[in-house]
């Protein structure tokens, strides 16, 4: 039987965030903005509370919260440490 298809989005995680989430890539029910998604992620993965992560929407980072278009890829980015 076909179930009603709920919209999902893809979340990718890097660095310590990937370890806390337990996978580099997860599927998540669609959420319309980064503020709500941030709260939902912290609720589901309390370890993220201690990481000052930013969310990139389709590789775009903004100092403000962003709207998430359907089908977007959202990335969880802990502080960078290249070099």
């Amino acid at each position: 039987m076909e179930s009603s298809k709920t919209e999902t989005m893809e979340i990718i995680a890097f660095g310590v965030a990937a370890r806390i989430i337990g996978a580099p890539r997860i599927s998540w029910p669609y959420i319309r903005d980064t503020a709500e998604l941030r709260a939902a992620l912290i609720h589901r993965y309390p370890g993220l509370r201690n990481v000052p992560f930013i969310l990139a929407v389709n590789r775009d980072v903004s100092p403000d919260e962003q709207t998430i278009p359907p089908g977007a890829t959202v990335a969880v980015l802990p502080p960078y440490s290249g070099g």
Binding site: F14, A75, P78, G82
Partner: protein, 142 residues
């Protein structure tokens, strides 16, 4: 978009070959080089043996592209080369290489410092420091 990543440490010969490729570009009067070397930092948890680098590659390459374009717009650069390791790099090995080339040294020096700082601040790369006992901690840039 140019790829900046290479697997493992940046070999000293790679740096030499990069320099050699510029011998035909005789308008250049100055190359400035930055080489980032993995440090055996002593943390309370232990001493760093190596760093395992990962990146959000697509986004990183876009960011580096913008940094390159801005640098060429701001300084009279003839060439700009940026390379960063992915995967494991041992203490004492090179993980980050930037070379700016210009007719005169001032632009090469200024641009080099700016570009290195921008890459460390704005490009999504992460270093996982693996300690001598095999445990790990996530590197923090200062």
């Amino acid at each position: 978009m140019k790829n900046i990543f290479l697997k493992g440490p940046i070999p000293p010969a790679f740096v030499g070959e990069s320099m050699a490729r510029h011998q035909s570009k005789t308008s250049i009067g100055a190359h400035a080089l930055f080489l980032g070397q993995v440090r055996a930092d002593e943390h309370p948890e232990g001493v760093v043996d190596r760093i395992d680098y990962t990146a959000y590659e697509e986004m990183a390459l876009e960011k580096v592209h913008v940094i390159r374009e801005e640098a060429f717009a701001r300084w009279p650069l003839t060439c700009l080369h940026i390379h960063h390791s992915l995967g494991e790099v041992k203490a004492g090995e090179i993980s980050f290489f930037v070379m700016t080339s210009s007719p005169h040294r001032a632009a090469a020096f200024e641009a080099l410092r700016h570009i290195v700082d921008r890459i460390k601040a704005d490009v999504p790369i992460w270093g996982r420091e693996i300690l001598r006992d095999g445990s790990d901690i996530w590197k923090q840039n200062h």
